[in-house]
Structures are given as structure tokens and as C-alpha cells.
């Protein structure tokens, strides 16, 4: 026990041997023993402290998300001290001249007070909002990294799903927070949500009344969103982060292939002390970047937007970026698609976007299982793929990113039109075409590029790279000398796994079911173009050849 404690509290035994510890050290020792006797924490600290984190810049994106979430919690707590989640009408009598004497909800008035009366309030609002945008953005980038390196494969499928939930929760946190000030911009956002809900056949109107506590906008929604925003959603986010971290520790971190890095080990820095120190430093860097931006760049100037009022809508009304893809989908669907069946109106221009967005998200959430089923791959993977070495997946990812990006761009179609001097109709029609063609083109191009890169890698692994040195042979022939790679460099190029399409085999009853056939077809499509990794024999053969 006592030795454990000593390890956990750093350097205590060494000090004991040399001289009797000073009062400070004695206090630390006593404190550590006190806690250890009551919790037996040291075992866990030791265990956790030995966890290894590999070093690669792209592995730090999840950390960025985590640290911006901490900043959100800190600044958000500050905001709750002053925000009033009430839609009761008040007359604003604060400092901002263009709002003086205007009737607005208490929520809006208190947000203006935070901005102009509370010391540091505007800064905190801006810190909170910028950190929120960064939070979702870093989650997005982190997800892309995990996707393109195949880090979601067995045994990490579940953690992918947990991460996906975090992404959804983060968007929900963002949207509820965005709506709280009850300003014109966010009110229009809620109006769109209301419209979407009402567009659901039969039950839509009922649900809308339930949500808003009566006819939109009602007097209840801000209070309700506030509850979600500061209690339920943060609790869920924290719980999901907890599960995410635990699974990360259980599954260990993936790493890129390299000499000495195998499926069985993780090469990097242990949490204690190296990684923890680095992480703490990195936290302050992220915090610092957010602070610099928040103190110099305006975000969500509600004093321009004014209080919510159902009649005016501003040009350039957009949601925060992470909801943009949904807004864009609504803008891309051709208008007037409606049918009336049995007295119920089916508003397809709302239902189709809901279905498309829903399907898109479901595919993202379930992708690990889909890929696992198609490839029939049951192996555990701890070495991250280089994107080029999984051309089909990388191409699917590129198609998905394109699809998302087109929807996202559509959310700013009006700004694209004014800033590039185009007509808005032209922009919309182009984006409509791109929504369908873009992913296909992205898929084909990405796959070609991946295969090309793989071929090049293979060339280099076998024959070395072109040194630029031209030599004239005695016979008069010119050749370019190829420099051989070091074994270290070659490792990176050749160590990836080989796949083959699944064979379609009859099941125990001797039948080939439809799903087996489908699976076989998908698997062939997934693997049809592939470049086999270089084998040892090939390398040796090529060396003899020279």
C-alpha cells in the first residue's frame, strides 16, 4: 500500500532517504495516505498513468473537442448567473441605444444586459459561442480522421457510435443554446423547426403544439430549451464523454504503422507524466485560441437582430454552421411538392429532406457495421489505415463529405449569389445538380487517386525513389539511379493488410440466400480494385534484380 502511494505522489521515497521531509512534504504525504486509505485510488492511477498515447497531430482533434467543451462549461456557468429563461414581455431600459424602450422577452433583455451591463459578460457570451462552434467543428474533423484511418473497425465500433451520439448531442446543445436569447435570428430558426414538425402528416400540428405549449411561438419554448440546454443535454454529453474515454482506454489508441508498432502494442508517451503534462499545456493553447478570437471577433450580435417577432425575416438568415446542412437540404428541395391524400396534405418538400437527412445520419452512425458486414472482416485492428490503402472506404468518405458540403453550401446560397455576382436561381440549380453528381464524381476520382498513390508506393517500396541522378552506362545508355528506401521508411509503405472479396457460399441448407448474394456483390464492389501490398519475397527478388 504505502509503496503504491509513494509512486502516485512522486518522489516521496527519495526524499525520505535523504533528509526528513519538510512540513510541506509531510502534509502531501499525509494527504495522499489519507485519500489512499479511504479510496485505494493508487492502483487506478498507476494503471491509468501507464496508458500510452501515440503521437500524431490528427490524434489531437478529439482533445480539441474535449477542451472546448470544458471552456463551454466554464463560460456557460457564468452565463447562467445572469440569464433569465423567460418569455415574459418586458421593456428594455438598458444601455444599448437602438433597443431602448423596445418590448422584448425577459430572455432577450437579460442577454442584452449580459452583453452591455454585466462586466465581462459580452466576452463570456462570445467565448461560449465561439467555443461551441469550435466544439462541433473539432468533433467533425475528429470523426473524419477516425473514418479515413479506419479507426472505427473492430473492436472500436461501439465507440464510433458513442462518438456519433456526441456529435448529435453537440448539435442539439448548439441549437438549443442558439435559440435561448429569443432574438429575431434564432426565432426564425425555431420557426423553421416548427414548420418541419408541422409538415409531418397527421401528428405534426399536435407535436408542434406540444413542443411550444400552444400556437408558435408561445411563451414556453425558451424555458423548455433552457432546461434541455443546461441540464439534460450537458448531463448526456458528460456521460457520453465518460463512456467514450473508458472505451478509449479499454480499446487502446490506434497508431499508424511503423517499425516497432504492431497490432499488439502502442508506441507513444504514457499518460503520467508526459502525456498529462502535454495535454494540460494543449488545453491552455485551445483555451487561448478561443479567448483571442472571442475578444476580437463578434459572434451572434443579437443587438442587431432585435427581439423575435414573427413578421420580419432578415435577408441572410442562417443557422449556426453545424445546422447548415439541414437548412441547405430544405433550400435544395424543389418547392411546391405536395399531394393531398384523404384530406391530409403530404408536404414532400419537408418530408423528403427529413428522410434524406435522417438516412444520411443513420448511415454515418452505422457505417462500421455496414463495412464490417460487407467485408466480412472479423479481425481486430489497432493499426490505423492510411486512407489510400482502403480506396473504397476513402472514396465513400469523400462522397459523403461532398454530399454534406453541398448541402452546407446550399444554406448560404444567397450569400454565394451576392458575393460572386450570380443569380440565386443559378446557384440553387447548380447545387441541386451537384448534390447528386458531386458524390459520384468524388467517389470515382478519390478511388482513382488512392489506387494511383498505392501504385506509386509499391513502386517506391520495390525499386526505391528516383534520385534525380542520371548515369551514363558504358554502353552509352542513360539511366536514372533509384535510391533504395531505408527499412524504416519502407515499413510505412508495405505494412497494410490485404483483403479479398467475400466468397458467396451456400448456407447450411445448401442455399444461397438473397442477402448472401447482395453481400457478395457489395463485397466485390468494395474490393474490386485493389493493389496487393508488397511481400517480403517481392522485395528480396527486386533487390537481387539490381
Amino acid at each position: 500500500m504505502s509503496t503504491d502511494t509513494a509512486t502516485a505522489t512522486t518522489a516521496a521515497p527519495a526524499a525520505e532517504q535523504k533528509a526528513p521531509p519538510g512540513p510541506g512534504m509531510r502534509f502531501v504525504n499525509w494527504g495522499a495516505n489519507y485519500i489512499e486509505d479511504r479510496t485505494s485510488l493508487s492502483g487506478m492511477v498507476k494503471e491509468l498513468g501507464r496508458k500510452i498515447f501515440p503521437d500524431h497531430w490528427s490524434f489531437m482533434l478529439g482533445e480539441v473537442a474535449l477542451y472546448s467543451f470544458v471552456v463551454i462549461l466554464l463560460s456557460g456557468t457564468f452565463l447562467t448567473f445572469f440569464f433569465q429563461a423567460s418569455m415574459a414581455p418586458v421593456i428594455y431600459e438598458g444601455a444599448y441605444p437602438t433597443m431602448k424602450g423596445v418590448e422584448m422577452s425577459a430572455a432577450m433583455a437579460s442577454t442584452l444586459d449580459i452583453s452591455f451591463e454585466v462586466r465581462g459578460g459580452l466576452l463570456m457570451r462570445q467565448v461560449h459561442h465561439w467555443a461551441a462552434l469550435l466544439f462541433v467543428a473539432s468533433i467533425g474533423l475528429h470523426m473524419l480522421r477516425v473514418f479515413f484511418t479506419g479507426a472505427f473497425r473492430k473492436p472500436r465500433e461501439i465507440n464510433w457510435v458513442v462518438g456519433f451520439l456526441l456529435f448529435i448531442l453537440a448539435m442539439a446543445e448548439g441549437f438549443t443554446g442558439y435559440s435561448l436569447p429569443d432574438d429575431l435570428l434564432s426565432g426564425n430558426g425555431l420557426r423553421i423547426i416548427d414548420g418541419m414538425v408541422k409538415g409531418v402528416p397527421v401528428i405534426g400540428t399536435w407535436i408542434s403544439y406540444l413542443l411550444f405549449g400552444g400556437e408558435f411561438p408561445g411563451e414556453a419554448i425558451v424555458g423548455r430549451l433552457y432546461m434541455l440546454h443546461i441540464m439534460l443535454l450537458p448531463a448526456l454529453v458528460i456521460a457520453a464523454i465518460g463512456v467514450h474515454m473508458i472505451l478509449l482506454i479499454v480499446n487502446k489508441h490506434t497508431q499508424f504503422a511503423g517499425p516497432g508498432r504492431t497490432q499488439e502494442n502502442v508506441v507513444g508517451a504514457p499518460i503520467l507524466p508526459v502525456f498529462a503534462a502535454k495535454a494540460a499545456g494543449f488545453f491552455f493553447i485551445v483555451f487561448g485560441v478561443i479567448m483571442v478570437i472571442a475578444s476580437t471577433v463578434t459572434i451572434n450580435p443579437i443587438w442587431n437582430y432585435g427581439p423575435y417577432d414573427p413578421s420580419p425575416v432578415s435577408a441572410g438568415t442562417q443557422p449556426d454552421w453545424y445546422i447548415g446542412f439541414a437548412d441547405g437540404m430544405l433550400r435544395l428541395i424543389p418547392p411546391h411538392l405536395e399531394t393531398e391524400i384523404f384530406g391530409f396534405t403530404f408536404t414532400w418538400y419537408i418530408l423528403i429532406p427529413i428522410v434524406v437527412l435522417g438516412l444520411f445520419l443513420v448511415v454515418v452512425a452505422l457505417y462500421p457495421f455496414i463495412e464490417g458486414w460487407v467485408t466480412g472482416d472479423k479481425r481486430e485492428h489497432h493499426i490505423a489505415d492510411r486512407p489510400r490503402n482502403a480506396p473504397a472506404r476513402t472514396a465513400i468518405g469523400a462522397a459523403g463529405v461532398t454530399f454534406y458540403a453541398v448541402m452546407w453550401a446550399a444554406a448560404s446560397s444567397d450569400l454565394i449569389a451576392t458575393h460572386f455576382r450570380l443569380s440565386i436561381e443559378w446557384v440553387t440549380h447548380t447545387l441541386q445538380a451537384l448534390l447528386i453528381l458531386g458524390p459520384i464524381i468524388a467517389y470515382l476520382v478519390t478511388k482513382r487517386v488512392c489506387l494511383g498513390l498505392q501504385k506509386k508506393d509499391r513502386e517506391i517500396a520495390l525499386h526505391g525513389f528516383e534520385s534525380g541522378r542520371i548515369v551514363r552506362l558504358p554502353g552509352g545508355e542513360y539511366i536514372e539511379v533509384h535510391e533504395q528506401l531505408s527499412d524504416y521508411d519502407r515499413w510505412r509503405l508495405v505494412s497494410y493488410e490485404e483483403y479479398a472479396p467475400l466468397m458467396v457460399r451456400p448456407n447450411t441448407n445448401g442455399k444461397i440466400t438473397v442477402s448472401t448474394k447482395l453481400r457478395g456483390a457489395l463485397s466485390r464492389w468494395f474490393f474490386e480494385d485493389r493493389i496487393a501490398p508488397v511481400t517480403r519475397a517481392e522485395i528480396e527478388a527486386s533487390h537481387h534484380g539490381h
Binding site: P97, T98, L141, V286, W303, G306, P312, V313, A417
Partner: protein, 230 residues
């Protein structure tokens, strides 16, 4: 406000001279499109009854003489001096009654909050809440309002250039027009209390900013950090 207001101060002969100058300038610069008597042609509408305000706005903001056919006549560097514009306006105003150039008292109001509210209700759907501009259909757009002279804002409201509706005194009283002008000037001059305003374009520019600058900076730092250790 009648078309006689501008004539009140000047004597009859000066007005006559101004109008005569205006006629000449018009014949030289505008008649090719609008016709010698401003009666209108296939290329351009009649100017009879558009009033001095319309001419002052169109020529004073550089929209007229129109350069190229496009979705809408756009602002260009102004091509005439103030006197020449006044002359053109006087001649067009003499053709038929129409809104005249506003007097200074209507260019500054004292109720910013009302101005802001009226702007949100009447103008923001085209010009954006902070006057940053916005897209209309078929390549037309409502321009950003920063830097527009107070009298031109007033004239835009009473003449309704191109796709902009006319806001007559029954819609928005002259005092409230003044309040709107003061609101726009306040937004322009006070700057954003929060720092850089990113063009007042709202969440789109904020989103781009966070991806490019915030995440960009952080990714650059991560690359630098891991490069050092390797």
C-alpha cells in the same frame, strides 16, 4: 414636401437657368435612352413625374447614366458635379410633379430604437438586419447600406429604385424615415461592440471563420507540437 420646395429659396430666374442647363445636360447624356423629352424609349422608362428625388438618387449614387445592361443598374463613380445633378433634377422635376429632394431636417432622427424596429420590419428582408445587403431573384440584389449618404437613403425610400418598393409618407412618416436613417448611421459609425463584425453576414461568416481560423490555427499548432517531438 412638393416639387416646389427646392425652388422656394432660389429666385425665378435662377430656377429658369438651372432648368435650361438641366435640359442641355439631359439631351447630351440621358436622352439616348430616356428620349429628348424624357418621355421614355424602348430602352428606358419615362422620367415624367419621377421627381427631383429620383434623379438626385440615380445620378447622385452613380447609377445613371446607366452603363451596361445587367440585372440592375449598379452604382458607379458619380459622373456629374453637384450643380449638374441639381440642374438635371430641376429639369426633370419641371416636367411633372414628383417627390423632391428632402431637406436636412428629415435626415436625422432622435429615436434610434424606432428606427431600428421599422428597419427590421420594412427593410431587413432585403437589406439584412444590419444593412449588410442580400440576394433577390434573378441576379438582382439589395445593396449593403454602409456609406450611403443620408439624403440618398431618404430618396431611395420615397422613389423605390428598381426592385425596391416605394415607402410613401403614409407607410413611414418623414420623421420615422429620419429615424431609420439615424439607425443606419449609428450601426455604421459605432461599429460592433463585440469586435470585428465579419461583414455582419451572420452565422455563415462565423462558421467559415471558426473552420478556417480557429480550427486552422489549432491544427497548425498540433502539427507543430508533434513535429517537434518526432
Amino acid at each position: 414636401m412638393t416639387s416646389a420646395t427646392s425652388a422656394d429659396a432660389a429666385s425665378e430666374t435662377q430656377v429658369a437657368k438651372l432648368t435650361a442647363d438641366g435640359e442641355k445636360l439631359f439631351a447630351a447624356n440621358c436622352a439616348s435612352c430616356h428620349g429628348l423629352q424624357a418621355q421614355g424609349t424602348e430602352d428606358a422608362p419615362t422620367l415624367i413625374g419621377v421627381g427631383a428625388a429620383s434623379v438626385d438618387f440615380q445620378v447622385g449614387t452613380g447609377r445613371m447614366p446607366m452603363a451596361a445592361q445587367g440585372p440592375q443598374a449598379e452604382k458607379k463613380p458619380v459622373q456629374f458635379t453637384d450643380e449638374q445633378i441639381a440642374a438635371l433634377a430641376a429639369w426633370v422635376a419641371s416636367l411633372g410633379p414628383g417627390p423632391s429632394i428632402p431637406e436636412a431636417q428629415y435626415l436625422e432622427g432622435d429615436d434610434l430604437a424606432t428606427g431600428a424596429e421599422l428597419f427590421r420590419i420594412n427593410c431587413a428582408m432585403c437589406h439584412n438586419v444590419a444593412g449588410a445587403g442580400g440576394a433577390l431573384t434573378e441576379g438582382k440584389f439589395a445593396p449593403a447600406l454602409a456609406g450611403v449618404e443620408a439624403k440618398h437613403i431618404y430618396e431611395a425610400m420615397i422613389t423605390g429604385p428598381q426592385n425596391m418598393p416605394v415607402f410613401n409618407d403614409a407607410n413611414i412618416s418623414p420623421e420615422d424615415k429620419a429615424n431609420i436613417i439615424s439607425y443606419l448611421k449609428y450601426v455604421e459609425e459605432s461599429g460592433s461592440p463585440g469586435g470585428l463584425d465579419l461583414g455582419n453576414l451572420g452565422p455563415v461568416s462565423e462558421g467559415l471563420f471558426v473552420w478556417i481560423f480557429a480550427l486552422g490555427a489549432i491544427v497548425a499548432i498540433t502539427i507543430w507540437l508533434t513535429a517537434k517531438s518526432n
